[in-house]
Subunit: 231 residues, 2 copies
């Protein structure tokens, strides 16, 4: 294809070059169509693609604007992509988390504030209280890790790890943990990480995070293995 993809490329390069800064408003669709030499239908497809990538923000009845281009927006699509990965590649994702998450957790140990630690303590408490509710466990687990990573102050890193630990992946791991009666032990792993962070011990935080990711990976393997031998 050419026309629509060209339009996408043009708009993207206008943004990249600074001609269309964050917050800028694009011309109305008919005008944009004339300007790029294709019909309004083509422009709409192009705009839709960039909107789904969180590059453009279409406000009905108002106009189309460039978003803030914040990492949290642009990297949102990573999570969607990970959700569509096939089962056998989820182990690759886990291997990446195994490398990245311990480093990030170690960094968090250096940058974490007392307020951050308090919030983490609350989440840990919530987690223990929800030990029987798979849905809540998944939610608090996500909140725990997100909070830890977010304290690094690196929004890009946070978005990446959020995306890599997608909802589906997390749900599968916890399903395995619960069915294998390992939920309690895993909650305690979070406590271990919490203690290391409280002590501002980088290496200990790193090590405990690695152990934790390893546990997740092991249970994911179990879940995937059980599935493949099903039918």
């Amino acid at each position: 294809m050419a026309l629509t993809d060209d339009a996408i490329a043009k708009i993207r390069s206008m943004i990249q070059s600074g001609e269309l800064p964050p917050g800028a408003r694009l011309p109305p669709e008919p005008q944009l169509a004339a300007q790029m030499g294709l019909s309004r239908s083509g422009v709409r497809e192009a705009v839709k693609v960039l909107e789904s990538a969180r590059v453009l923000d279409v406000r009905r009845g108002d106009g189309t604007y460039v978003t803030s281009l914040a990492p949290r927006l642009l990297l949102e699509g990573l999570g969607v992509a990970v959700e569509l990965l096939r089962d056998d590649t989820l182990l690759e994702v886990m291997e990446v988390r195994r490398m990245l998450e311990p480093m990030a957790t170690g960094l968090a140990a250096l940058r974490m504030t007392d307020a951050d630690l308090d919030e983490l303590g609350r989440i840990l408490q919530d987690m223990r209280a929800a030990a029987d509710d798979a849905e809540k466990l998944i939610q608090f687990d996500a909140a725990f890790h997100h909070t830890v990573i977010a304290t690094t102050g690196n929004e890009t890193l946070t978005s990446l790890l959020d995306g890599l630990a997608g909802r589906t992946l997390r749900a599968r791991v916890w399903r395995g943990l619960i069915e294998g009666n390992a939920a309690h032990q895993t909650i305690e792993e979070h406590h271990t990480i919490y203690l290391a962070l409280r002590a501002r011990d980088q290496l200990l935080a790193q090590a405990s995070a690695l152990l934790h990711v390893n546990t997740s990976e092991a249970w994911l393997r179990t879940v995937l293995g059980a599935k493949s031998s099903d039918g």
Copy 2:
């Protein structure tokens, strides 16, 4: 918005549920439109979004098919997203590379074959021969790191790091390196990494990769700093 986004979600969930496995063919656009309760225009916008995410493959005159859903495809969008990040967040990207690339390089030291090492040696030679050509340097630099990471056998990891070290980012770093007369020294950093890999020394590979990323980060800082003080 509802109709088009609903259509996107429906198609995606059909793929996720296995109803549309990799390689499957979707119904023709008019039929798909009827099936999802919207017009052909809306379907086309939905398909276009999924095509740009490398989830669908539209073959003109033939039909629309689900791609292989390989990580290399689905994570391709990451590179595009990184290209649009604002300057100040590029340092965040560098911090992520600083965490991930040394670990990956260390892992590569364990898994690298003799054939891999030979190829790496060739790239290193090319790099030295092209010390005066910025464009080629960027290309060989990308090839070097890609080759190293690819030997881990982890396609997801490879795609992620490829995306994080996008063309624009790499070009900026090398611009700084060349203008600062540091190109030669940086090429030697690659040699150091190569030697560590040849020795199958994980820790040494890790350390030399960290030093290398650190150099890149420093020069990126220089380039960005010079730019912000320009105007």
